[in-house]
């Protein structure tokens, strides 16, 4: 008798667990079904210009905030679309778009010849401009006044100048931060500033712009380079060749480092892809680009 009761309760327990798991899983599936039904109704009503469907975007972490925010706005405007945005880095974005794993790839560096050879049918769009700023801690006595040439910067980041004293500051080691190999921001910085030199081996590698900024904000003797959009009051930007790192100075060409933010599709974009890219290139998208501290394309 007791064993039967026990068996019954075990059955109930399993049933309960099953129902909970079932409910959890049913959520997304059912939601999807409803959306598909609605979508069918609308498209059969002749609404074929309304963008519908799913879109996947992946790539550069520099572009991630822009794309994520634009995707949210786009989805609010077009309720029958679903855009998922993932990071992974510029190289990953080019590779996934080229091989068709995602619909749109994004990169904060120029596409390499080797990549073009491997994925010849990539179509390229620019969605914004950016620059790379060098930042130091706001408590550093040099904050606000430090002015370096590209060459001096190269010497700091390659470890030829190692003490703040040599730049007119306190007698303390310069603590350099850098991005990981393959980062678009790092490649741009290398191209403009370091050339053939190696980064100093004691440079601490941070895997994102945000982490670079957070590290310098917490380290009085730190120096790092970040995407222009990440410069804020928590850190102080270094003048390069006497020019301040501001949106205007990048736009008018006075600030020496610029780069373009790219998106890719494999072959010509379809209806949904092109409406999303046009949305980012349009006034609403470019407003997001500006709000996040990057530079609009026009």
């Amino acid at each position: 008798m007791r064993s039967r009761r026990r068996k019954k309760q075990t059955t109930y327990l399993f049933l309960g667990i099953g129902v909970i798991i079932g409910l959890l899983l049913a959520g997304p599936l059912r939601y999807n079904g409803v959306i598909n039904d609605l979508r069918d109704q609308i498209t059969s009503g002749g609404g074929d210009t309304i963008p519908t469907g799913d879109l996947t975007v992946a790539g550069s972490s520099t572009l991630l905030p822009i794309t994520q925010e634009c995707a949210n706005l786009f989805m609010e405007k077009h309720p029958f679309t679903y855009i998922s945005v993932a990071g992974g880095g510029s190289g990953h974005g080019i590779k996934s778009a080229g091989s068709g794993e995602v619909d749109i790839g994004q990169s904060s560096r120029n596409i390499k010849d080797s990549e073009l050879l491997r994925y010849p049918d990539l179509v390229i769009f620019s969605i914004g401009k950016d620059s790379v700023a060098v930042i130091i801690n706001s408590d550093n006595p040099l904050a606000g006044s430090l002015d370096l040439s590209l060459e001096e910067l190269g010497e700091v980041f390659s470890g030829e100048i190692t003490n703040w004293k040599d730049l007119g500051g306190e007698d303390h080691e310069i603590e350099v931060y850098t991005r990981e190999e393959g980062s678009g921001t790092r490649e741009v910085f290398t191209q403009y500033v370091l050339g053939d030199k190696n980064y100093v081996s004691t440079a601490s590698v941070k895997p994102s712009n945000g982490e670079m900024r957070a590290s310098v904000a917490n380290n009085k003797y730190g120096i790092a380079f970040v995407s222009l959009g990440y410069v804020d009051e928590a850190v102080s930007a270094v003048l390069i060749e006497g020019v301040e790192a501001t949106v205007e100075n990048v736009q008018n060409g006075a600030y020496p480092i610029t780069r373009i933010l790219w998106m890719f599709t494999k072959g010509m974009p379809n209806n949904l892809e092109s409406s999303f890219i046009l949305f980012i290139q349009g006034p609403e998208g470019q407003k997001v680009v500006e709000e996040l501290g990057y530079i609009p394309i026009y």
């Binding site: 990953h92 590779k95 190999e181 393959g182 190696n198 081996s201 601490s204 590698v205 895997p207 380290n219």
Partner: protein, 282 residues
């Protein structure tokens, strides 16, 4: 009826072999992707500059060992006395409290412990001891917290497994309780403790997130000379660089090759632990 029974047995055997299948698949894919980069130079090279295709991992391997050995040492310093207390002195209810509190630590997500290290330990080290704060020392403390629980529970198990008669015999000979513990019980449980250490080392080698957040990860790691040096570990190198490595490039193969090294290290440790435990049983 019998047919059904044997069918069930086969189905169960299949599920049991599934873990073996996964391990085989992991080995296969790691080797397929990693072998192109594996070479003597990969293991003994001193320079890690993926941009110029220098893939020397010796400093990273030594950095990993530094971090792991220090962490296990700290965990032992705290863990063994705690287990001795638990198994020899603690009243039942105290033991319950300590054991459950320690067991909960196992489950604290490593990223939360890393966050703790980043916000509390790193600034503390920078302000009181010096250096950048992001250091081997910070890695030691964070890792020690993570391996402590398993170490305590395994060590306590092996201490409790020492037969009561040993204790009684020692005490009857006039030894104090402390002498009994150090001269009789701990030596009798030593192989269990050794197995716990080996498993702790394995866990520490494989830990990624918490360590990654506090050890600094220098551009080109060097062989560390001080506990305030930054370093890299095998896991942190993979985690930081995999997403930006160009697919199919030597860099990506090198990261998979680091995965192979990790895999071999951990499997070897597992082998040793199994061997130690088996010998312990005999």
């Amino acid at each position: 009826m019998m047919k059904l029974e044997s069918l069930i047995e086969k189905a169960l055997f299949l599920s049991a072999s599934f873990s073996a299948l996964i391990v085989f698949l992991i080995t296969f894919f790691l080797i397929r992707e990693g072998v192109p980069a594996l070479s003597l130079n990969f293991l003994t090279g001193l320079e890690w500059r993926p941009g110029q295709e220098f893939f020397g991992t010796l400093p990273t391997i030594i950095g990993t060992l530094w971090v792991v050995i220090g962490a296990v040492f700290i965990a032992l310093l705290i863990g063994v006395p705690t287990s001795i207390y638990l198994s020899e002195f603690a009243p039942f209810w105290v033991r319950n409290i300590i054991k459950s509190s320690v067991e909960v630590i196992v489950g604290i997500p490593s990223v939360v412990i890393g966050f703790f290290g980043l916000m509390i330990l790193v600034p503390f080290i920078r302000n009181t001891i010096g250096g950048r704060g992001e250091s081997i020392l910070a890695g030691w403390i964070v890792l020690a917290i993570m391996i402590l629980p398993n170490l305590i529970s395994l060590t306590e198990d092996s201490l409790r497994a020492v037969p009561k008669s040993y204790r009684e015999a020692s005490l009857a000979l006039g030894a104090t309780q402390w002498q009994t513990i150090t001269k009789v019980i701990v030596p009798a449980a030593s192989s269990g403790i050794r197995a716990a250490i080996v498993l702790g080392v394995g866990r520490a080698i494989g830990e990624t997130m918490a360590v990654l957040m506090v050890i600094g990860n220098p551009e080109t790691p060097w062989i560390p000379t001080s506990i305030l040096d930054m370093t890299r570990t095998l896991t942190s190198t993979i985690a930081i660089e995999f997403s930006y490595a160009e697919w199919g490039s030597p860099h990506q193969h090198a990261l998979f090759a680091i995965g192979v090294v990790l895999f071999l290290l951990v499997t070897a440790l597992n082998f040793v632990a199994t061997f130690v435990i088996r010998r312990n049983k005999n």
